[in-house]
Symmetry: C2
Subunit: 330 residues, 2 copies
């Protein structure tokens, strides 16, 4: 049974339960981003100070401990996962020409695209060094493969921007590659470090995968429907960048003012007025609700994956996290 | 004794000697860059078609075979080394805003900076997948560490651009990190795959390192002194980008028209007239010759490292390659 905590507190629950581990992860992040080249800890430290959710490293630690792990290796591997994520964010912001992240300037806006590309490369390499230091061949396979799949997903998204012929299946492939894959790698690595049985490993991998898809789809919804202040970034970023996401695909396919969508995505009229009209259409056509329902389906899948684990506070916190993904506002 | 081939043919000698292996590397490159995401093999294939020197993968293969290796693992590891190099080139061209490479448009000029960043990330991840597949912990350590050192070197160079207070020692640290480290990783990996004794491994690592420094310093010279057509890229790129390289450091420190250098690098006057004046000063002050002498010193170091290996056609080809680095024109 899922505890009756308000969904919004769910991540706090996991964070509270794993507070010492989260502190250890933060310490490891600071330690491992050290470099005699000042700009590296400067930029990396800035990103850390923005206080992301640390969702992926928390998942690694939670899944390891859910499988009974009692050592400390998972802290460094969680850091490696977070570095891959941070490197991806740095490069994403360059590719998307983003100016804001979590309500603060992006690294590329404050320093430069150049610095973001290179510091991203550094964090990415450092992530590999950390997992090589750990030495598990299985972990290396999972994370190196996840990294190339993520890059493939990002290229796929770039190639399909402004393309309204993108269908739901292809779009979900992109989300699977660029987002869900790192979630599933994060959870699977937890199981591997705990030397869990194969069925537990597969269950946690699938849990992460479904959770990642739910998070991505809710991201897509929030980009049109969030409270801008809470979201910490400008609403409508995806729209301005010409990113065709699931809500847009569903609205366009439903026949809701197709001329407008064509003009916006293929003709390039994506100003504030167009964004307001887009939001209206996305609401009226039910596209936002349908996307949320799709995310809900993935949350159900994720929850099912946890069934084989005995009840525990950690399992409950992971279940809450899955629910929370549907109700978060940032 | 070093054979009397003209230095310019030296790399051809290594290429001829290792022709089947080079073909295997090229086949492996094509095979491993495959992806269902079309843009990836398109861009990666374009880079391959530009026909780089394949210097680093050839070094891996040559060093492995110099240590008596007779297997095939070195082909995939050489491919991994080449992928790291290619990823670095893609990101470098974005950072440097370069338009030409080997006489053809750069990937960022033809596709976009975005595509170059992401395809670079893909190649980088794929490089790790290849070495993980090989499975040698030593190789993983060498190449993952080299990658983060390269990124550090690139950031260091970015942070010191336009900075005429850069001294020779710091500049050589940058070259060591951004260039020599991958050369030494390429040669050391060859020794590791051949299970060479430690003294051979250290000798080959140091050979690659010294050779890398020589190549970088000659690159710096060629950027001001090359025949533009043979160089395959615009002469004066470093100057236009405000990159302070050893020739500039030496000319500026020699007191050769310091006001001009200040205006050019810190004030931003780096047009064609300024380039012509810079080239004149670099020649008159002896800065280009001194840089070449420094490169010559590194070539001598490199050659000394090969002393402990018995004479063989492969050793001779590596010696020629070291000499060639001083006489190449591209």
């Amino acid at each position: 049974m899922i505890p009756s905590l308000k969904p919004i507190q769910a991540q706090n629950s996991l964070t509270t339960l794993l507070e010492p581990q989260l502190k250890a992860i933060n310490a490891c992040i600071l330690e491992k981003m050290k470099s005699p080249v000042e700009l590296i800890p400067q930029i990396a430290g800035y990103l850390v100070s923005l206080g992301g959710k640390r969702l992926r490293p928390l998942l690694t630690v939670a899944c390891a401990e859910l499988c009974g792990y009692e050592g400390m290796r998972h802290i460094q591997l969680a850091t490696s996962v977070e570095f891959i994520h941070t490197a991806t964010l740095l490069h994403d912001d360059v590719v998307d020409e983003s100016k804001l992240r979590r309500g603060k300037g992006t690294a590329n806006a404050i320093w430069s695209n150049k610095a973001s590309v290179l510091v991203g490369d550094f964090l990415f390499s450092r992530a590999f060094e950390l997992m090589v230091e750990d030495g598990s061949p299985d972990v290396l396979k999972i994370l190196s493969h996840a990294s190339s799949v993520i890059a493939e997903g990002e290229v796929m998204q770039l190639a399909s921007s402004h393309d309204l012929s993108l269908d739901q299946e292809t779009y979900l492939k992109i989300c699977s590659a660029k987002t869900a894959r790192l979630f599933s790698a994060a959870t699977e690595v937890g199981a591997v470090v705990a030397r869990a049985e194969n069925k537990e490993r597969v269950a946690l991998r699938d849990f992460g995968y479904a959770l990642g898809l739910a998070f991505q789809l809710m991201d897509d919804v929030l980009d049109y429907a969030a409270d801008q202040e809470k979201l910490g970034k400008a609403i409508g970023d995806d729209f301005r960048e010409g990113k065709v996401t699931l809500p847009v695909i569903l609205a366009y396919q439903s026949g809701s003012d197709p001329v407008f969508w064509k003009e916006a995505f293929e003709g390039g009229t994506r100003d504030a007025g167009a964004l307001a009209h887009a939001i209206r259409l996305l609401k009226e056509s039910g596209a936002l609700i349908k996307t949320k329902h799709k995310a809900q389906d993935y949350v159900s899948d994720a929850l099912t994956c946890l069934d084989l684990f005995p009840d525990s506070p950690l399992k409950a916190a992971l279940q809450e996290l899955a629910h929370f993904s549907l109700h978060r506002d940032s």
